[in-house]
Amino acid sequence: MTDTAPPAPDNTAVAACNGVAIDSAGVPVLDVDGVTKSYPGEPPVQALREVNLTIGQGELVGIVGPSGSGKTTLLQLMGTLDRPTSGRVRITGLDVATMADEDVAYLRATRIGFIFQQFFLAEHSTVLDNVADGLLYAGIPLTQRRQRALDALELVGLAERPHARPTQLSGGQRQRVAIARALIGQPAIVLADEPTGNLDQATGQSILALIDQLHQAGSTIVVITHDHAIAERMRRKVEILDGRIVADTGPAAGTDPRRQPLAGPPTHAPRAAFGTPIGEEPS
């Protein structure tokens, strides 16, 4: 996991045309290109119609839409948990459609972090091991996983209770554990599905503050929500309705926090915080 040469496919031009902030190699972190998704049925359900969305390094994006708008389907496709009916999804330039299932799984293990409304923590296991499981399928030995889990717990402010069980934690703390699990592998992109949906107002606010903080530390985060107020807090707001993107504030100039250091929370990129980057493959 020490090789660092990233793939350098020739789609810099495309990304540049869209006016997106792109990473150092010129590849957007996420590129949804003309994606349509329909589910079989009578008549077939068109969940997404010709969606285009490009997300660059370091962005914080809120995708907002009512239930049934297709936002969850979009998250599933962005997270490579499902494949589009047509169109292309690229994660850090890698076209999911051309990859075998095992390779897509490895892509998820190393480059995508998920945060769910229901947290999905294993109750029988400790907070530390829950977080460490975020790297289980990336092929990293247990001792190393636990070490990095401690670092990730520190990042979300839970470093003091690594051996507690999730059942001993409050809802907000559980979501922090889940966030630490998503961050442990320093994924290229973090996808959050209604991260505050199971939390009360105040706790939800603290989780949103944490997400903002992580964004300022350099993480690329996409938050899916039905709540416009939450989406407003994000740097970029994408509205989705009936399977189409109906509004996109676009990547704001200067959103890359590395160029605009803020006071307070850590200002270094998360990769530096975690040591050697993972998920970078030789082309």
């Binding site: 496919p9 020739d10 299932d101 490895y106 999905f120």
Partner: protein, 402 residues
């Protein structure tokens, strides 16, 4: 435009797989225990049946060895005419002179004489007892001793005195010896001198009423021909002696002599598998089958209950293969758990029973190894379909249709 990279595929490390496969067992201990119980019972039954039959066989063989396998018997066979061929009266002496024979003793059936408790018992109620003339050093040769009283000696062999075989004493209703005790043999009173312990190698002695040769001739009109010669051969010469016996015992008519080695019949008996063994093994197999169904059932329920875990693992980067391996190894582990407990139970049952019977405890390798292997295979077979189902579950369905 298309970036092609071949991400390295990761196999789970063994330690991680072990941890994963025990998740279900650790979180639902009672359920795991109960579903493994079926397999445990089946394996325990099989191990116990095989262990008990091996232990009892070993016990019997041990007993036979203690009695000695060098006892040979020579008895009067059939004559050409179909009647009973008689052994010459010289046979015991001739046999005793064969090189390698340590000792030769004989009994002679006194035909037409029966033994009764009193003269008032109807003569048809013979109880199957035979009256035999017996030589004086018979007991050590047939590996038995006197339970009560005394055996015949040079004096009592001349007089109307009997010694009862173990079964004969029981059938006559005599369990202890007191002075003056007598039974009615061949129309006159005979005093009872002793009762013998069972002679395992020569069961004919057990149901016999033994009297001295001289007394038999004097009081019962016995012709003096021995009917069975018991002899001990040197251990390394048993076969050589065996080959000479017929011709030596009755040189005129060797084919009218039958020679046998009683211990070999007992060994064959020890080797014979009891029909009940088959029944119990069958029951064990049924229990195993039921256990397999239980494990399959539990695994299917487990997959249904753990949909979100499966979905989460896929989101964390698990391949279908990882999920399949996790659930399959959980089922195998469940089976192995049952198998190990079953082997332990079966071995314990064998040990306890063997101990009470004073046998050596023997658990045949094929019993415990087979039990473990069978439970492993059962776990794998029972877990296959649930594991395939778990792997087939799409991550989106698993995570978003809770």
């Amino acid at each position: 435009m298309t970036a092609t990279a071949t991400p390295r595929r990761r196999r789970l490390q063994l330690s991680d797989l072990t941890r994963l496969s025990t998740v279900g067992l650790r979180t639902r201990k009672l359920r795991a225990g109960l579903s493994a119980l079926g397999i445990a019972i089946g394996v325990a039954a099989i191990v116990a049946v095989l262990g008990l039959s091996a232990s009892s066989q070993a016990g019997l063989l041990n007993e036979i060895n203690q009695l000695g396998t060098n006892l040979l018997t020579v008895s009067n066979g059939q004559s050409f005419g179909g009647g009973t061929a008689e052994l010459p009266t010289t046979a015991p002496g001739m046999i005793g002179r064969i090189s390698g024979v340590q000792q030769a003793q004989s009994t002679g059936a006194v035909s037409d004489a029966n033994a009764f408790r009193t003269p008032y018992i109807p003569s048809v109620d013979t109880n199957g007892l035979t009256v035999q003339a017996a030589s004086l050093d018979l007991l050590p040769v047939v590996a038995t001793t006197v339970a009560q009283g005394h055996y015949l000696n040079a004096g009592t062999a001349q007089e109307p005195v009997v010694v009862l075989g173990a079964a004969a004493a029981q059938l006559l209703g005599i369990d202890r010896i007191y002075p003056g005790e007598r039974i009615w043999v061949g129309g006159q009173w005979f005093y009872v001198a002793g009762i013998l312990k069972p002679a395992v190698l020569a069961s004919a002695i057990d149901s016999s009423v033994l009297i001295g040769y001289a007394a038999a001739e004097k009081y019962l009109g016995f012709d003096g021909h021995p009917s069975v010669v018991y002899l001990r051969a040197q251990n390394d010469r048993v076969n050589a002696v065996d080959n000479l016996l017929a011709a030596t015992a009755n040189p005129e008519n060797p084919s009218g002599v039958s020679v046998s080695q009683p211990s070999s019949a007992l060994v064959a008996q020890a080797d014979a598998k009891s029909a009940l063994n088959g029944l119990f093994l069958g029951l064990g197999a049924v229990a195993l089958l039921v256990g397999a169904v239980g494990v399959a059932n539990i695994m299917i329920i487990s997959v249904l209950e753990r949909r979100s875990e499966i979905g989460l693992r896929r989101a964390l980067g698990a391949t279908k293969g990882h999920i399949r391996t996790q659930f399959l190894s959980e089922a195998v582990l469940l089976g192995l758990l049952g198998g190990a407990v079953g082997v332990a139970l079966g071995a314990a049952a064998t040990a306890i029973y063997a101990h009470t019977k004073h046998w050596a405890t023997i658990i045949p390798t094929e019993a415990w190894a087979g039990g473990i292997a069978a439970s492993l295979i059962i776990g794998a077979v029972a877990g296959l379909i649930p594991a395939l189902r778990a792997a087939r579950l799409s991550p989106t369905q698993a995570l978003w249709s809770v």
